[in-house]
Amino acid sequence: MAVRGMWSGTISFSLVAIPVYLVKAVEPGRISFRLLHTREYSPLARRMVCPEDGAAVGWDEIVRGYEAGPEQFIVVTDEELASLSPERSRTIEISEFIDLADVDPVYFDRPYYLVPAKGGEKAYSLLVEVLRRANKAGLAKFVFGEREYLVAVSSRDGALAVITLHYHDAVRSEEGMAPKEAMAPKEAMAAADEAEVERINGVMKAMLGEFDPAKYADSRKHAIRELLASKAHAQAPVEAPALPGEEAEGPADLVAALEESMRQVKAR
């Protein structure tokens, strides 16, 4: 399988544990641009500067501060934050089975798929089938990166679909969103309003269709792509001057090992 997992581990419930990979279900593919210097077209670097004298500030001189009030900060170190991170775990442990239809779409955050790892195919298909027949989704917590996520695992077209759910306290209450009048009970609706509802209902019926997502596309993205293609065709891309040693460059493995060593050197 050509998809590369961003996380690998097991999904489990009761006594079953299935080795799986997590892959993204959507790839928004936003077209991104680098910021260049107008003169030489060299990519610009971001640098933290002191607003007082404009001097560059090194990473070893930067800490996080929570803005407690105007010009008042609570300083929190990386170590303190790290100590709060949930323990890394390699399992998606299903704790409940729910009806996904009961979940308000406002809770849906990001969709993923679970792909079976070697040796897990059979148990995986079994879980897919069980969820399909029961038309239920498994609710689980799982640690990814520094955070713990709440996810719903359901069956979709023979695969396990995962959607991360917002936590309850992150979802805004609906209170105050709807205008006061609309809260009034139905019976109180005037006859004139009743007629208007009927009329709009008729218009709506005439516009009924089947949702076909392929009919819609991000037209701006397409327009930008076309612009880029025609510009690339009409004129060669401008070339940035070779900037030796600009930022940390090199094989990712090496850069990561150097960063880690650098951290140790500075920690002494």
């Binding site: 040693g245 930022e247 940390a248 460059e249 650098m262």
Partner: protein, 301 residues
């Protein structure tokens, strides 16, 4: 014009202009330059062994014009060894290779105050024996800043499992060497590795370090010139004199000495002149010899 014929190892060498002062503001004649190289030769020759020599010649002294000579002069004695080297795909040339005292003194008789050598031997021009970090401070930064960077570099390399050794450039810079001495080493690797290291240092010490070649970026910072890790580039050979006002030497230092210099904030501790160089070398031997023998592998490539 004074001329003196000497015999070294059974070979006759005619030395000219011995009383000519090539370091006029200090007072250092060609005779004394030859004497310096004669005494330092036992320590220096292993580092010249098998390497295509670039002569930096100052026929009228350090204050006057100089020129680089990569091609071994055609009027050389027949016993001067040469090696064929191809530069940038051009017609190959013959470069001098100084492997004995007589060749070294012959080159010095040509007022080749500075001797530069590649990181690879002529027989294996694509295989560096070492990876180098050429620390070049931009005004007003100087030796103290270079020393600080060298110590960070040593610590970082050591965490990466690599032992490193340093020498002064004989000017304001320092050179940190990571011996490799392995048949599979390539310049592509040493360049990739050193470039990544330079980038990391720049990122973590933006006020102290730059990995950027551009002159204006180098002001008051130490430029880590990783691009010296290239088959086409040469480095000043350890123990070579420099064409400075005074006859200073590109001389090895120990990490303890460098730490002392930083702690005492005394950059003069790192300035080694000809007499001091001979004295220290004769007392302690070649502090740079591990560069030629220690075998190490660059990790994570």
């Amino acid at each position: 014009m004074s001329r003196r014929v000497v015999e070294i190892n059974g070979r006759r060498l005619s030395l000219a202009n011995l009383e000519k002062d090539l370091y006029p503001s200090y007072g250092f004649t060609k005779a004394r330059i030859l004497e310096y190289y004669r005494r330092i030769a036992p320590y220096m020759l292993p580092h010249l062994q098998g390497r295509a020599l670039t002569l930096k010649r100052y026929p009228d002294g350090v204050a006057k014009e100089f020129f680089f000579e990569k091609r071994c002069p055609s009027h050389r004695p027949e016993w001067v060894k040469t090696a064929q080297v191809a530069i940038n795909g051009a017609e190959p040339i013959f470069a001098c290779v100084a492997e004995d005292l007589e060749t070294l003194l012959w080159a010095e008789n040509l007022a080749s105050l500075e001797l530069h050598v590649p990181l690879a031997r002529a027989a294996t021009p694509d295989r560096p024996d070492a990876m180098v970090f050429d620390l070049d401070p931009g005004e007003p930064a100087g030796v103290p800043e270079s020393a600080k960077v060298a110590l960070i570099l040593r610590d970082l390399l050591s965490r990466m499992g690599l032992e490193s050794m340093g020498k002064t450039s004989g000017k304001k810079g320092l050179h940190v060497y990571v011996p490799l001495n392995r048949t599979e080493a390539t310049f592509e690797q040493t360049k990739t590795f050193s470039r990544a290291v330079a980038g990391i240092l720049q990122r973590h010490y933006p006020d102290l370090v730059t990995a950027n070649m551009a002159k204006e970026e180098r002001r008051s910072k130490v430029f880590i010139n990783w691009s010296q890790n290239d088959a086409k580039k040469t480095m000043i050979c350890v123990y070579s004199l420099r064409a400075e006002e005074r006859p200073s030497v590109s001389f090895p230092f120990t990490w303890d000495e460098l730490e002392d210099a930083v702690r005492l904030a005394d950059p003069a501790l790192l300035k080694v002149l000809h007499d001091e160089a001979v004295r220290r070398a004769e007392e302690r031997g070649d502090r740079f010899r591990d560069v030629l023998s220690r075998a190490q592998i660059l990790p994570h490539l």
